[in-house]
Amino acid sequence: MARSMIDRIADSLRAQSEALALRAKRQQVIAGNIANADTPGYKAVDFDFGRALGEALRGAGNGSSRLNLLQTPSTQPSADGNTVDMDAERAKFADNALRYEAALRALNAQIRTLLDAIRG
């Protein structure tokens, strides 16, 4: 059976929306690192965005795939065992926010294109 038009429209938006969801997840993970900058023994974590996006696109696309969180190697370990490098986390947070916005704009552009096509 031919796939419905709506399905195809949803499919065309999937890559950007998965990217957006993963950017939001990463924003959350980095916020957790920044929040725990003074917690003794806390280990900073992050995930490989490219790999996670690949897995999400290959998977069922229900967004429930488990994220593979890795401990960030520590450059300057502190005496209390905390491995959060505040400068690096701040930089990652800003970078990720920018990329979130980029994904958002790309998604927006796609929606506009579709709307233009619908309106004619």
């Binding site: 939001a24 993970v29 929040a35 958002l104 927006n108």
Partner: protein
């Protein structure tokens, strides 16, 4: 939605840091508090942080407990002080003012950092709300 969890995480950190700032204020206020001979002087308090892991790996933070500093109280020779003991020593709190000032700056910086995280999340969310417009 993941972005609203950022508010929970950064919010938990802001709350924990402000509690830490409260203990610093209490310690600095009592830095010169003296105790009568035989009585217990004020002991410095320190907030002990603990990560609160969420279901998807990102962790918030909370104050697990407020621990009392076990170090010896300061003893200061001042025979004219009304609380001086028989040898002329006054027992003061064990607050280390330099440590407290460092703690204060560190807490204030961490507070600012987390506020910035919230601001960024807020602007991203507002932009997301405009999706399709």
């Amino acid at each position: 939605m993941s972005l609203s969890r950022v508010f929970d995480i950064a919010g938990s950190a802001v709350a924990a840091q402000s509690r830490r700032l409260n203990t610093v204020a209490s310690n600095l206020a009592n830095a010169e508090s003296a105790a009568a001979p035989g009585a217990q002087p004020y002991r410095a308090r320190h907030a002990v942080f603990e990560a609160v892991p969420g279901k998807d790996g990102a962790a918030g933070v909370r104050v697990a407990r407020v621990a009392e500093d076990a170090s010896e109280p300061r003893r200061h020779y001042d025979p004219r002080h009304p609380l001086a003991d028989a040898q002329g020593y006054v027992t003061l709190s064990n607050v280390n003012v330099v440590d407290e000032m460092i703690d204060m700056v560190s807490a204030a910086r961490a507070y600012q950092n987390n506020l910035e995280v919230m601001n960024t999340a807020k602007s991203l969310m507002l932009k997301t709300l405009n999706l399709g417009n």
